[in-house]
């Protein structure tokens, strides 16, 4: 007989009861698109699975005047069709729509993407750019909320304890001048999903970039803000010359992030393509498109 057991909480209260009994061999199971592969590859056939997909509360996307609140077990398919997110969190919707395939997006969840903490995960840079906050449930039934960046420790490592679960991701609703964009490089194949991705948010007023956040993924052990790139375009007027500065600064950032790796030459070229995608997605209507790269 198998020594694996599956717990199927139907409410947050039942989840709390499960978390109280968590040990090192307990695994939270959402869409399963990372975990099932991991368990099989590591030949883990013992332990406890806690299935989060039976908890309706965790699958809702709600909002109030200040935040859009995404349940941790909401799938990427739900995210891409949510009108509030399309309006206020375009970069997250763009990232979600490019994850895996239709079958993966129908199962894979936002909470799973964060908890898995893969350096090339697509939702994470978008969430950092959007200043998302992550709410975590503890086994004593209390919760705490932290910025997304503080949850991700490094490649495949998050800061959660065994008796904790991500329950909600909150995205502040910014004013209407706030725009965002996401672009990634990589084929559909899972082995190559990590190549490179970029998410950006910006506040634009009268043709001037008043505030901007640029986040790069898959370059280090975790996604990070490219502060020098932000500085290069902040408080500047949108123009073709500014695009060149943006692109050059991004290339520099890639050089710094991966000084001696064999993938450098390739990523150096790739970032130019992503720079163009993101810049013109954000500001395209405000600047004449510069000539394309060959």
């Amino acid at each position: 007989m198998s020594n694996m057991i599956m717990k199927t909480p139907a409410s947050i209260d039942e989840l709390v009861m499960c978390l109280k009994q968590s040990d090192d061999n307990t695994y939270l199971l959402s869409g399963g698109t990372d975990l099932i592969i991991k368990l099989r590859n590591s030949k883990i056939y013992e332990g406890t699975l806690i299935d989060l997909t039976g908890i309706d509360d965790l699958k809702q996307i709600k909002y109030n005047a200040e935040y859009i609140k995404i349940g941790a077990a909401a799938t990427f398919n739900q995210i891409t069709s949510n009108t509030m997110l399309i309006k206020h969190a375009k970069c997250l919707v763009q990232a979600s729509s490019q994850i895996g395939s239709t079958q993966i997006r129908n199962a894979a969840t936002l909470g799973g993407n964060i908890a898995n903490a893969f350096a090339g995960a697509d939702a994470i840079p978008a969430l950092i750019a959007l200043d998302a906050m992550v709410t975590i449930l503890k086994s004593d039934k209390t919760t705490y909320t932290k910025p997304i960046d503080e949850i991700i420790k490094g490649s495949r490592k998050n800061t959660l304890y065994k008796d904790e679960a991500i329950i909600e991701i909150s995205i502040p609703i910014a004013n209407d001048n706030c725009i965002s964009a996401f672009a990634k490089l990589g084929s559909r194949s899972r082995v190559t999903i990590s190549k490179l991705n970029i998410a950006a948010t910006a506040q634009v007023k009268d043709g001037t970039i008043e505030a901007v956040k640029i986040v790069l993924g898959a370059l280090g052990t975790k996604a990070f803000r490219a502060l020098s790139v932000e500085k290069a375009i902040e408080n500047k007027d949108i123009s073709e010359a500014l695009y060149t500065a943006f692109e050059n600064e991004l290339v520099k950032q890639v050089d710094e992030a991966i000084p001696n790796r064999s993938s450098l030459g390739y990523k150096r070229e790739a970032i130019r393509g992503l720079a163009e995608d993101v810049y013109f997605d954000l500001f395209g209507s405000m600047v004449r498109k510069v000539k394309c790269h060959d």
């Binding site: 399963g32 698109t33 099932i36 039976g54 398919n77 239709t102 079958q103 993966i104 129908n106 559909r188």
Partner: protein, 162 residues
Amino acid sequence: MILDFNVNGRDYSIEADARARLIDVLREDLGLTGTKEGCGEGECGACTVIIDGLAVNSCLVMAHQTRGKRILTVESLKQDGELDSLQKSFINNGAVQCGYCTPGMLMSCKALLMRNPNPTEHEIREAIEGNLCRCTGYVKIINAVKEVVKESKAPSEEDHHE
């Protein structure tokens, strides 16, 4: 552990191991071997089934996660001995060669048509982006879906012209 679910319109209550994936239970416990396992890692789509109306890789879902759900496998397409229009169209358009991808391909296309009876070519391509086919080059598959869409639309268009 008992698993209650509905497969191809029939209610089941079976004893299933907590480690079993949906594909294991479909093939081994229910004998529904139309669903194929290719990669076992979400890459190939050969294992695609429809769960509550959505195409999902049955190699990446635990069987017990489907408790209370309605599952459709490729075996559901044939009704009263007659192939589904999608299956006929696959055959007529040469969209089946070695056939390994076909069950998954059919279920991805079926899920699309259930939600959207009139998809664009882009939508068809998106629906099957998770299904690998080494033989057909996809064009014949896309044509097969287009033909079903066209045929299902034909009567209403005539109405329109009258």
